[in-house]
């Protein structure tokens, strides 16, 4: 490895040749013979070069960045893997490499801690490390060349060196066994690159399942002395290999040597790893060293290395583009160099062109190198957000070292469209009730329907409670809500209830978490609060403030672990607490379905010839649509991954050896929850990687350790790696992927490659594709990848960790005043249902092809419009049929039913049978639906298309568009109608039948039509409730007990009955139960009147109602019963034993009023004579006091003796002799 670098530095080979050599397995023809020869001998090392280079750079920079912000590292182990050790690089047993970098001060310690090396870079039993260790012990442990070699090299210059490496094959082969940087101790301040840089091949101990659970562990930001302990005690349970400790000792000594300096540094006091909070504290006591271009040592060497490094980045030979940029930014903003020179006095500046001398001898070197690299990646930089650009452009070092780059950056900053904001106003609303899907008809039983109803409410109750409490310290999701959630899940018995609930869950998830705002933390209730407090105009400012407050925590370094920020946490915890197998299964089904649906969504494709101004407007909308789809997909895939791999993940280290084999055998039998491999392959073929890959990455980020070992997923990783390699940013040309699309893919893939469950050697081991990405050749000419669908906002939304670059720069500038204001662009969160429809599946055949061809050369908006119109008109058509044809049939059914009921009598017959009869008569009419539907679509679609398309649309295009819209709408409507019309009619008729039968009821209340109040009525009548209450008071007074001074006046009674009449005539407020009770109360009142039981207020003597008054009141009642009550009046109660019995208590008994009432009832046709006779007859059966029974018998006889008067005219005649009954009774 080093040999290659050496050759480079000696200009034996060109940078281009080296990069070609690394990137391709075969040598390009353009390489000259000498280069080829030099490099071919190193072929075996090819794969190791990049990791070597990366480690080398980290190692070299370690002295520069001791106080610097943490360099990304995924794990403590990863950090351990990194060089960054102050004194210098490995030596001792790591002979070959230490030859190259012989730091003097280390030599002494090397002997003291020989074991240190072996674990130096290991995080644990990781394979790579093991390998390193073994190599150490078996292979080169005896070698003691390092020091000498180093010295010699230094003394003699480079030429002698290659002989060592090149002419000594054993060494080389040994080298191969060594993890190139394996022995490098942990960097002092966490300035180490990803641990992934370990290309060594597999050894027998290799297990990919090392405990990489430390995923969340942040970069270490402590000085070496504190580091190991921090690691040992880290909550991720990662012990450092013993080697580290010895190294630690070693470093301890070093530290002592320069204790003064280090003591100044506050960092030793912070043993806990710190995430993404770059050092305000660190800056405190340290003054920044100014960087001066004039003081750069060995320019040429730095330029060369920078060039190689840049080329590797540009060729995507590094796993994570942004990680490297972060590293470069760190170099750019390095504050001061740890002076190691005093402990390294032998190091002479003479050997500047060899690798033996430190690459970075001063801050000046670092900055120079960084600027060199940045110059090569201006294109990437120019696509960073405005804030980052501003900070970069204002960086004085950059200005100093490369005014040209600074100028370009400034220009880029000024041209940058908008500031990217990661915080968006949250949008939390409940999933609205959708009658189409949520109504009873979609449930198997009433019970299931009601269970779901309850569930919905419990779900939101839990959600509200979570919002209220989840930020309170000490509140625990499981403790607070777990049992309630499980109880709720327990009620979901039927499979269909599960699917309903999952639908709700998923919709709510999308609504709340789709936007980064939803992920940000503010949720229900909070936003409106803010609104009312500040008013809308201050809201923007508040959000900016909030963003500023939240931003530092929003992502953990440049490679944060997958997390569930904000509201997503609720859904994760819900799934965990529910711990319901059924729920998880349904959720996976539903998520998979939705992912497939969204992934297959026909997003408008870019038309390169679409040059008119309109296209810009269109693109705005299309980008937005794409963003919504992509963000939804990522969210869904994240949860799918979470749930799917949940059973396989655990805190314990993954198994190794035989156990692992058996697990592999077992797992390879399990079909994937979603066929992501096929989706990926298809996505690549269809050039939709920009849509498919980001969500796939989210999905895979939750994979467990075994997953990458499975063949199925191996394939996926292979595809992804090839894709990664193919995304060379500098290759921009027609037909290639858009720049930002590539950048997005590089960012997400780079992130994925840093995830602990992804084997670390995967990236470097994977044999790169021979050349370009092969699917490119078969790809369609234009795919989503070629369309500028990704914008900066989306890039930052998907990869918030890119924002770490800005934070790093901002921390360099004292204070963060460098932030400019500006308005946030917002992605309006919309529900996924509004995303437009997929083209109908059934549209096939030549016509469909023609239609496709037609759209091909039209602006994408045209296609969208037509599809939209077709979708809406088709849907409306179904509704129209429902409202016209089906409604007519239902009306027919009702009248048929009435006839049926009349002919069959009260019984009606079996409802099910009735329904069958009706349906058999009516369903055939459903056939008309298709014709009617066709007619409807024909009529409605063209107008809609015309209204929506630009006016200057050519006539031919317009008419084609109209015709296609008609066709599609008809197709859609008819497909639905032909499949469902019969069922629909049946359902509606059934509902009508049960409605009619219910209305029929036990008491056929339909005494003709119910009358409403007259048109002139102003509804001023007393309210029924008031009247019931008043009458009740009278009844209670009459029944007693009552105070002596209580009673009613006759006027009050009369008034009450008058009001009752008004109320009954104005039916505005009257409901049937109230009327029933009023009727009953009025009958009770009549009985009390007849029995003279109503206590009358008045002069003390007069406690009884006058006969005339009583009779007048009874007349009023009779008239109310006859004229005003529309419901049945229980008049037979007048002759109930209880009411007649009231008479028994009065002395002397007065029968005349009863007789009068009975006669009037018959007269007015309110009761039949026979009916009264029957009632009187049954009265005799009751037990009465003797005399009362006699009188009752007399009354009966009297009533019966009266002439039977069937004719109404005669009854009218009788009205003039109202007193006959009274006379008789008194006689």
């Amino acid at each position: 490895m080093a040999a290659v670098l050496e050759s480079l530095l000696r200009e034996e080979v060109s940078v281009a040749a080296v990069v070609r050599w690394i990137a391709r397995s075969t040598q390009g023809s353009e390489d000259n013979a000498g280069e080829a020869a030099a490099l071919s001998s190193l072929r075996a090392l090819r794969k190791e070069f990049v990791p070597f280079l990366l480690n080398f750079l980290r190692e070299q920079s370690s002295r520069v960045l001791p106080q610097g912000p943490p360099t990304p590292a995924k794990t403590p182990g990863a950090s351990a893997a990194l060089p960054g050790r102050p004194g210098g690089p490995p030596r001792g047993s790591r002979g070959a490499r230490s030859q190259l970098f012989p730091p003097t001060e280390a030599q002494s310690t090397a002997a003291e801690a020989p074991l240190a090396r072996r674990g130096g870079r290991r995080r644990g039993p990781g394979p790579a490390r093991e390998r390193g260790g073994r190599g150490l012990e078996e292979g080169v442990s005896g070698e003691s060349l390092p020091g000498a070699g180093g010295r010699r090299l230094r003394g003699s210059g480079s030429p002698s060196r290659p002989s060592l490496t090149l002419s000594d094959p054993p060494n080389l082969s040994n080298l191969e066994e060594f993890p190139p940087v394996g022995s490098v101790p942990p960097g002092p301040t966490g300035t180490k690159p990803s641990r992934r840089i370990n290309p060594t091949p597999v050894s027998e101990e290799r297990s990919l399942s090392k405990p990489k659970t430390c995923f969340t562990s942040p970069p270490i930001s402590c000085v070496p002395s504190s580091q190991p302990s921090a690691l040992d005690t880290s909550p991720w349970g990662l012990g450092l290999p013993p080697g580290c400790r010895s190294l630690q000792e070693e470093r301890e000594m070093l530290r002592k040597e320069r204790s003064k300096q280090l003591q100044q540094s506050p960092t030793p006091t912070c043993p806990t790893p710190e995430l993404g909070s770059p050092l305000p504290s660190r800056t405190g006591s340290l003054t920044d060293e100014p960087a001066d271009p004039a003081r750069v040592s060995s320019r040429q060497r730095l330029e060369l290395v920078a060039l190689v490094y840049s080329s590797c980045i540009a060729e995507n030979l590094v796993p994570n583009l942004f990680l490297e940029l972060f590293f470069v930014f760190q170099l750019l903003t390095a504050r001061r160099m740890v002076t190691a020179k005093d402990s390294d006095p032998e190091l002479s500046p003479a050997v500047l062109d060899s690798l033996e001398s430190p690459l970075f001898q001063s801050i000046h070197d670092c900055v120079f190198f960084a600027v060199q690299v940045l110059e090569c990646h201006f294109q990437v930089l120019s696509n960073l957000d405005k804030g980052t650009l501003k900070l970069l452009a204002e960086n004085e070092r950059l200005l100093c070292f490369s005014p040209a780059l600074q100028g370009r950056l400034r220009a880029a900053y000024e041209g940058s469209v908008a500031k990217v904001s990661l915080v968006m106003p949250p949008s939390t609303q409940a999933v609205s009730f959708q009658p189409e899907t949520d109504n009873r008809a979609n449930f198997s039983s009433d019970r299931a329907f009601h269970t779901f109803k309850k569930q919905r409410d419990v779900f939101y109750e839990v959600l509200r409670e979570w919002e209220d409490h989840h930020e309170e310290p000490g509140w625990d999701f499981e403790k607070g809500l777990g049992s309630r959630i499980r109880a709720m899940m327990g009620q979901l018995s039927a499979a269909c209830s599960h699917s309903h609930f999952v639908r709700l869950f998923q919709k709510q998830l999308l609504q709340m978490c789709q936007s980064p705002g939803g992920a940000g933390g503010t949720v229900l209730g909070e936003a409106p609060d803010v609104l009312s407090m500040l008013g809308a105009d201050k809201l923007g400012r508040l959000w900016r403030l909030q963003e500023r407050l939240m931003a530092p925590q929003s992502s953990g370094g440049p490679c944060p672990p997958p997390t569930f920020p904000g509201c997503q946490g609720f859904f994760r915890d819900f799934i965990l607490s529910a711990s319901s197998f059924q729920f998880n299964q349904h959720l996976m089904d539903s998520l998979s379905l939705k992912i497939q649906e969204l992934n297959g969504l026909a997003l408008p494709q870019h038309e390169p010839n679409d040059e008119d101004g309109e296209s810009d407007v269109d693109w705005q909308g299309e980008r937005k649509q794409f963003a919504v789809v992509l963000l939804s997909l990522r969210l869904l895939a994240k949860f799918l991954g979470f749930v799917a791999f949940l059973p396989y993940r655990g805190p314990e280290p993954p198994p190794t050896g035989e156990l692992q084999d058996s697990i592999l055998a077992l797992r390879s039998q399990v079909p994937p929850v979603l066929d992501v491999r096929t989706l990926l392959q298809r996505g690549l073929q269809a050039r939709r990687a920009v849509l498919t890959v980001p969500w796939l990455v989210e999905f895979l980020s939750f994979a467990d350790h075994v997953v990458p070992l499975l063949e199925y997923y191996r394939d996926i990783f292979t595809l992804l790696l090839r894709l990664h390699r193919s995304l060379v940013l500098s290759q921009e040309s027609e037909g290639k992927m858009c720049f930002l699309n590539k950048l997005l893919l590089l960012a997400v893939l780079g992130w994925l490659f840093q995830i602990p469950t992804v084997p670390e050697d995967l990236f470097f081991l994977e044999e790169g594709p021979s050349y370009a990405f092969e699917v490119d050749t078969v790809a369609p000419e234009h795919g989503l990848d070629n369309a500028p669908v990704v914008d900066q906002q989306l890039l930052y939304t998907c990869c918030p960790y890119i924002g770490e670059l800005r934070k790093l720069l901002a921390s360099w500038v004292s204070g963060s005043s460098g932030r400019s204001g500006g308005f946030m662009r917002k992605i309006t969160p919309t529900t996924t249902t509004s995303l437009g429809a997929q083209p109908s599946q059934t549209s096939q055949g030549l016509q469909a092809q023609l239609a496709q061809a037609f759209f091909h050369n039209q602006p994408p908006s045209l296609r969208r419009t037509v599809e939209f119109v077709a979708e809406r008109i088709g849907s409306n058509c179904v509704k129209h049929i429902k409202a016209t044809l089906v409604a007519d049939l239902v009306r027919q059914a009702e009248s048929l039913l009435q006839e049926q009921l009349v002919t069959q009598g009260e019984e009606g017959g079996d409802p099910a049978q009735l329904l069958e009869i009706l349906c058999s008569q009516l369903c055939p009419h459903g056939a008309q639906a298709l014709a009617l539907g066709r007619e409807f679509c024909q009529r409605k679609s063209p107008g809609a298309v015309r209204a929506l398309l630009p006016e200057e649309t050519p006539a031919a295009v317009l008419s084609s568009a109209e015709n296609i819209a008609v066709g599609l709408a008809t197709e859609k409507a008819c497909a639905w109608l032909s499949a469902n019309i019969t069922a629909l009619i049946r359902r509606e008729v059934k509902a009508a039948v049960s409605r009619t039968l219910r209305a029929q009821g036990p008491e056929p209340a339909a005494r003709g039509e119910r009358r409403g109040c007259s048109r002139a009525c102003e509804h001023h009548a007393p309210l029924p409730s008031h009247l019931i209450s008043e009458i009740k008071d009278v009844l209670s007074l009459a029944v007693g007990p009552r105070d002596p001074d209580e009673g009613v006046s006759p006027e009050h009674l009369e008034q009450l009955l008058g009001q009752l009449g008004q109320t009954l005539r104005c039916r505005q407020f009257l409901c049937p139960p109230a009327e029933q009770h009023l009727a009953k109360c009025s009958v009770e009142l009549a009985s009390l009147l007849v029995a003279d039981q109503i206590p009358i207020l008045g002069p003390p003597a007069q406690y009884r109602l006058e006969r005339g008054q009583a009779r007048r009141l009874l007349h009023m009642l009779l008239s109310l019963w006859k004229e005003d009550f529309q419901g049945p009046v229980p008049l037979q109660l007048l002759l109930s034993p209880r009411n007649v019995g009231l008479l028994a208590d009065t002395r002397p008994r007065e029968w005349d009023l009863l007789l009068f009432l009975l006669r009037e009832l018959v007269e007015k046709g309110l009761m039949g004579r026979m009916e009264i006779e029957a009632c009187l007859g049954s009265l005799h059966q009751a037990q009465w006091p003797g005399d009362f029974a006699e009188e009752l018998a007399t009354l009966s006889n009297l009533f019966l003796a009266e002439p039977h008067l069937p004719e109404p005219q005669l009854r009218a005649c009788e009205l003039v002799q109202p007193n006959r009954g009274t006379v008789l009774a008194q006689s």
Partner: protein
């Protein structure tokens, strides 16, 4: 009619152990002349119901029932016309209608072979003429007409009041030209407010999607029950909305405005619609 918690507590304090009779109501009106009669009745009724809920169980032990029944029998033997059952209910601090039901059940158990079904009991309470024993029928009837918090008549009055206010609200909405959906249950909705506005409006700065009419006083207990059973359910389905407690409510309960439940004691006067504002 929006009362502070303190005002409400003062009224509730006066209602402790007051029998649910018209006399009690009359006294209450005299004590709080400034409050509307309907509000007082609603508060009274709710407080009394709370009281009954708390003490319900102790009247339903078999010992209690037996002792009540014996006292009833002894009483009517002495004087069947005296308000035996009503006095008994007042004496043991139980609702007369509920006492009537208790005794009726006990009576039927004794006189019928099969235990009476609930619907038979209900039917007899609605129409005491069906009660086979004349004396008991009168006693039951007396209890029912004298009970202003329980019983079929009171239930009917409450139902009617609720219905009337819904009609009132509907008229007001029509008058303001606000189109709404009602009768939603028939359309397949599971939980439905009285009115869903087809186009949301704003009241006092809050968006309103639905309106629920409550012809009662909103006290803590009932409001929380409504929130749990109805209002949040509406929010869950239709978004924020307005609840009108026609007989007032405790001011402090109107604390969920920001979360989407707005309380009013009358139809709001300032409604902002999408296009124009109605003064």
């Amino acid at each position: 009619m929006i009362l502070t918690k303190a005002q409400y507590d003062e009224i509730a304090q006066c209602l402790v152990s007051v029998p649910p009779t018209r006399q009690s109501l009359r006294k209450l009106k005299q004590r709080f002349p400034s409050q509307s009669q309907a509000t007082l009745l609603s508060i009274f009724s709710q407080e009394y119901q709370k009281h009954i809920k708390r003490t319900h169980a102790k009247h339903h032990t078999s010992e209690a029932i037996e002792s009540y029944y014996q006292r009833y029998l002894n009483g009517v033997v002495k004087n069947g016309a005296a308000p035996v059952l009503l006095d008994l209910a007042n004496e043991v601090d139980y609702a007369p209608s509920l006492m009537a039901r208790l005794i009726l059940e006990r009576f039927l158990q004794e006189h019928e072979e099969t235990p009476p079904s609930k619907s038979i009991i209900n039917s007899m309470l609605r129409d005491p003429s069906q009660i086979p024993d004349g004396v008991l029928a009168n006693q039951v009837y007396q209890c029912i007409v004298n009970d202003c918090c329980y019983g079929p008549l009171v239930d009917c009055i409450k139902h009617a009041i609720g219905h009337e206010h819904e009609v009132l609200l509907r008229d007001l909405l029509l008058e303001k030209n606000l189109s709404f959906l009602d009768q939603l249950r028939a359309k397949g909705y599971d939980k439905t407010p009285d009115f869903i506005l087809q186009v949301p409006v704003a009241v006092e700065g809050h968006i309103i999607h639905w309106i629920e009419s409550k012809a009662s006083f909103g006290d803590e207990c009932s409001h929380h029950a409504y929130l749990h059973d109805q209002f949040w359910s509406y929010w869950n389905r239709f978004g924020p909305g307005l609840v009108i407690y026609w007989y007032g409510f405790i001011q402090e309960l109107d604390c969920n405005r920001e979360r989407g439940i707005l309380l009013k004691a009358c139809f709001p006067t300032n409604i902002v619609t999408l296009c124009h504002s109605i003064a």
